[in-house]
């Protein structure tokens, strides 16, 4: 136990946790949106994120991005990366819905069947990117798909620098960008769900599907919309991840997805603001825990948090509701 280390650098660990949690929160939104409307855990959402990181990787590879480009170019690469990742992730999420979930919904399959299908899909995606694409495209894109299942590095777009220090807490430019960008994306989504016509449709279906259908809400379109929105958020998370950590792998989604799901449950699954809160909270708890024990226990901490939350407060910190619709 390293209490001194934790207390001595509490501010630093909090900042590290927040910037880590912001990425969890963005992925958690995908779980929360789908759960809020369909009462279904989209287990394959972690792979939606993984596809996003590969989209960024391929884009940067094709553009011939080098380490530390000039600032103008860096911004261009990031914006292009955001667009490509959002399209790739959103498209993947939509494809999952159309190919797998829709036929099951027609049959009114029990929730466990959805979950098993999602696990199968997740496995299919992991293997596609780990085993099949390296063999198919290994020659065409050797820097992207060299050997199966390897960790693939990405160019550094922004050099990590300390922007300013408060006390003994150093805040780097990357941490700031990740945090601000993630919160901005979430604010945008929150506005979309709570203030626009489409968002009203989503809330209506979440509240009561039958009544919403009677009121003229196209349910299938709402369902497609939430999958796409969740995918876009995962795409944004993928870009931030690529910028901050600079690597990806076919199996990257598994643990990250579990943590994002934990974040969603922690904040109250189905609740957008809860996902933000849960993500940030989990990020901080994880960094604190890793400091207290040792960093190789980090993954255990998230699972223990999940079990404890589900035992004592299964509705999460803020309660389960999409857009404050359900009491």
């Amino acid at each position: 136990m390293h209490f001194d280390e934790l207390i001595g650098h509490l501010g630093q660990h909090t900042v590290d946790g927040l910037s880590k949690g912001a990425i969890y929160a963005l992925i958690a939104l995908g779980y929360t949106l789908v759960y809020g409307v369909l009462r279904l855990i989209n287990f394959a959402h972690s792979e939606v994120f993984m596809v996003g990181t590969f989209a960024v990787l391929i884009l940067w590879n094709q553009l011939g991005v080098q380490n530390n480009p000039p600032i103008g170019q860096a911004i261009l690469f990031l914006v292009l990366g955001l667009i490509v990742a959002a399209v790739a992730s959103g498209g993947t999420a939509l494809a999952l819905e159309r190919v797998a979930y829709r036929p099951l919904r027609r049959k009114n399959a029990p929730p466990l069947i959805f979950l098993i299908t999602a696990i199968g899909l997740s496995l299919v995606f992991v293997e596609l990117f780990g085993q099949v694409l390296p063999k198919l495209l290994g020659g065409a894109l050797p820097d992207v798909f060299g050997r199966p299942r390897q960790i693939i590095g990405m160019p550094t777009i922004i050099q990590q620098e300390t922007l300013f220090t408060i006390g003994n807490t150093a805040i780097t430019n990357i941490q700031l960008i990740v945090f601000v960008a993630a919160v901005a994306m979430m604010a945008l989504l929150d506005w979309f769900i709570n203030r626009t016509r489409y968002g009203r449709g989503v809330r209506a279906v979440a509240q009561n599907p039958e009544t919403a259908a009677l009121m003229g809400v196209n349910q299938e379109r709402v369902i497609m919309l939430i999958f796409v929105l969740g995918g876009i958020m995962a795409g944004a998370a993928a870009l931030l991840w690529s910028m901050r950590f600079g690597f990806t792998q076919n199996s990257i989604g598994f643990v990250l997805g579990l943590k994002a799901f934990t974040a969603a449950v922690l904040g109250g699954i189905g609740n957008l603001r809860g996902a933000l809160l849960g993500g940030l909270f989990l990020g901080i708890v994880e960094v604190y825990g890793a400091t207290l024990f040792a960093s190789n226990w980090e993954d255990v901490i998230a699972f223990v948090v999940l079990i404890v939350v589900l035992m004592f407060r299964p509705t999460g910190l803020l309660g389960e509701s999409l857009g404050r619709a359900r009491a």
């Binding site: 009114n108 979950l115 696990i119 299919v124 293997e127 085993q131 999940l306 079990i307 589900l310 299964p314």
Partner: protein, 392 residues
């Protein structure tokens, strides 16, 4: 195209059910002959197509995994099939009978394997500690038979410990929590170096004749046949046990809880108690399987208990036909045997398993050899969906 497949499938199922009915109508002595023939077949499988005298039977010989270049030892593959069948039977109690999706089954498998390693091997830190505390000779370790009991008891306890707080959760939450449990067990095995030797692993895990050595007459390291016979004996015993349980009061309670928890509770079946019982039972079978795995391998380390295996186990059950013991056994054998026999496809096996899971769930959620009851249940739900199309 899909309609054609469906109608062919319906004919196949009709054929299977008619076999089932005919079997049920046979006189007792004919059934006994059938069972005896099956037993002989199962126990002589290691000689499939290759008789002891070196005589080859060309057609059957091609089924063996050692008939292809670089193929694995046939009896060794059969042993793996047998322990996977054991896993499938155990997981079937949890998933198929009680309707609880357990994605952390590898955790119980690992606990079973680690029980024999930690208590039975002279290289394990636990045994070393006991030797020091009680002034025992350095060759002392817990014997295999007691390790077997320990494995079963420890996995049952861990099943209850995991189930106690989590079985009150909704089904889909339970699945994710168990997934986390499987990962926790692996990470603990990797990080708790003082107890488990961490990533180094534990060697010299004993078999029925004691620690692995060249002097062992029956359960050696090279010839896997005795190990297969041992495993298949356990499988048969467990099949009988689970079959008896399934048709007892407990088994009926499991089905009732699976189909409608509230209705079961109203009828005086306390769901939590029976779910916990199913969890403990399933855990014990997983532990037994892990125990056999550890003792045959003689060496284990945390990388052998990857989360992917949990998903493989679930795939065996759902592809085979959850709720039907014959179905899940078939699923286990297929998923263990096919990648070994068709090595070209071994690289893609996880892809194929994933696709198989998705396709089975969408086209045939009751599995290859369905449990009749479960198939009816799913059909009911589909009919309800047609009556009320607006309902999600």
């Amino acid at each position: 195209m899909i309609d054609k497949i469906r109608s062919a499938d319906r004919r196949r199922v009709g054929f299977l059910t008619s076999i089932g009915d005919r079997w049920g109508a046979l006189p007792k002595w004919q059934k006994a002959i059938g069972v005896a023939a099956l037993l002989v077949f199962v126990y002589t499988l290691p000689y499939l197509g290759k008789l002891p005298g070196g005589l080859m039977i060309p057609g059957l010989n091609n089924l063996r995994t050692d008939s292809i270049a670089g193929g694995n030892n046939w009896a060794g593959v059969l042993f793996v099939c047998a322990i996977y069948v054991l896993v499938a039977i155990g997981l079937n109690v949890v998933v198929g009978l009680a309707g609880l999706l357990d994605l952390g089954y590898i955790g119980f498998f690992a606990i079973g394997a680690y029980s024999v390693a930690l208590f039975g091997s002279v290289n394990s830190p636990v045994v070393k500690w006991i030797q020091q505390e009680f002034d025992l000779p350095p060759t002392w370790a817990v014997t295999w038979g007691i390790c077997l009991l320990l494995a079963i008891v420890l996995t049952m306890i861990s099943g209850v410990l995991l189930g106690w707080p989590t079985l009150r959760l909704r089904g889909d939450y339970l699945a994710i929590v168990t997934l986390g449990f499987g990962e926790i067990i692996r990470i603990v095995a990797r990080n708790a170096t003082g107890v488990t030797n961490g990533p180094v692993g534990i060697s010299a895990i004993p078999g029925p004749e004691g620690p692995p050595s060249a002097d062992n007459k029956v359960f050696g390291l090279i010839d896997a046949k005795p190990w297969y016979w041992l495993a298949i004996t356990f499988v048969l015993l467990m099949v009988i046990l689970v079959r008896r349980l399934e048709h007892s009061r407990v088994g009926r309670a499991w089905l009732a809880v699976r189909e409608d928890e509230d209705a079961a509770a109203v009828m005086g079946v306390y769901p939590f108690k029976f779910k916990l019982w199913a969890f403990a039972m399933g855990a014990a079978l997983g532990g037994l399987s892990g125990f056999l795995f550890g003792s045959r391998n003689a060496f284990i380390d945390p990388t052998q208990f990857n989360a992917n295996l949990s998903i493989l186990f679930v795939a065996m059950v759902v592809v085979g036909g959850s709720g039907n013991m014959l179905g899940v056994s078939l699923g286990a054998v297929l998923l263990a045997y096919l990648p070994e026999r068709f090595r070209d496809f071994a690289d893609y096996r996880w892809l194929v398993f994933g696709l198989a899971m998705v396709l089975v769930m969408i086209l045939r959620p009751q599995g290859l050899i369905p449990s009749r009851r479960r198939a009816r249940e799913l059909k009911d739900r589909a009919a309800e969906a047609e009556e009320a199309p607006a309902h999600v």
